[in-house]
Symmetry: C2
Subunit: 254 residues, 2 copies
Amino acid sequence: MPPPTPGKPAATCLARHRVRDAIQQLILSGEFQPGQRLVQQELAERFEVAQSVIRESLLELQFCGLVEAVDRLGMFVSGLDAKGLRHAYQIRELFEGLAARLCCESACRADLRELAELARKIFDLASRGDLEPMSQCDREFHFRLVQASGNPLLARLTEGYQMLGMFVRANRDPRQIRDEHLEMLKTIEANRPAAAEDLARRHVREAWHAIEEQIDQGTFVPHWVGQVVEYQAAGDGGAKPTKKKKPKERKKTT
Amino acid sequence: MPPPTPGKPAATCLARHRVRDAIQQLILSGEFQPGQRLVQQELAERFEVAQSVIRESLLELQFCGLVEAVDRLGMFVSGLDAKGLRHAYQIRELFEGLAARLCCESACRADLRELAELARKIFDLASRGDLEPMSQCDREFHFRLVQASGNPLLARLTEGYQMLGMFVRANRDPRQIRDEHLEMLKTIEANRPAAAEDLARRHVREAWHAIEEQIDQGTFVPHWVGQVVEYQAAGDGGAKPTKKKKPKERKKTT
DNA sequence: CAATCGTTTATTATCGATAATAAACTATGA
DNA sequence: TCATAGTTTATTATCGATAATAAACGATTG
């Protein structure tokens, strides 16, 4: 007769997931910088779990694209270079376009209303200069969009992989962003799939152009940006043992 | 002074990867059927590694989309239903289209020559009725295409996730497949990105239609098909604890 | 001073054992 | 017979320890 052990929180989430989310948070918040090495033992002590739990969490994050693993060498916070971002945006453009198109037949009124609400909120926050909440809202807008698309694989890929580029902030006119969002929604509501797809793709392209400009001007900060959204998804990934990573920053013999 | 231990194979690959590939093979070959439970202990004995190694391998495969995990319950070979396949093909269409488009500026002559070679080989094999090698060749064709696109993220997503749909066989006229492949290549060679993208997308749509027809007729076998290609990539993924899975097939008390 | 080789150390990869949990089973009572 | 509660068992999740490995260090020699 095993009593429910009243002292413990029943139905607790897997430690692996808890730690995964926490580390993700740390990466997105900037506390863990791109390129930084993630030492398993250190993290294990920090989160008070065994090293193997950290391993598994990092594996999940690897597949999210937030960390990269090199066999026998370690795991590192993924870097963010211009080329990688361009590639990510090429794909994001497809995803958002497909999402918008599919939404024409899948999104319900409630979804659209909520999306419009978010579009306005993004504008409000931007007007007030609250950049961080604005970014978060913007991400949520796009997450909701793919969720409303009715293609779970699309949602999983977008959320799971985070599409890398979703976590950098494009420096654009908030008014324009809002208008693009709203027009997209209007087109979806009008049930014009081709037009909606086109608008969504254009929207992503505009974002990319803004980021590209920042990169060219040297004003781009190669940082993950944002807080973890409430979503529930993860990993994938794969080991690319061929890729070499700077193994530096190893402790000296104290 | 640790001598190189001459008895052991130096620079051996991670056990995790070895096992991952082996299990993938077993799934694709059909020995492990969709829906089947993957018991860690069992696999650990079979591959002569610790259970934790199996865990990590399965995690990787989960992110590939080949297995699904349910927290505290186990891992199962992914199922293949009509809806899931449709969603996969929606995305595959985008990916192949983008790949073809990008190839116009990225693919070198050698790539194109090799692709043309493969296109012919696919036809030859199909003519002889060698369906399995044919499927493998076809997959290789599409893998090479995304690799030649010059967008590594695209390649990783396509290969890593295997795009699910890439591992079912569409029942089509081999001649038509060949012609579509070759026309696509010709368009790439002629540097007509928009046309190439369009052709690639159409090609995927055709494949999907063939599969859809098979499904409607009830002649579709819900099986993973194929052998592992030599690629090196992996998962992502994420746990979706909400999803319920048949926990059945548990051993009786012997 | 530069290059090479062995030693040390930090770190990952793997292992075997234990704790936690969910399903299967069994007994009990209406 | 059916439902329900307790027990057992199969299995996963976690832990702590060990083996394997790659970088850092240090001495030795040209």
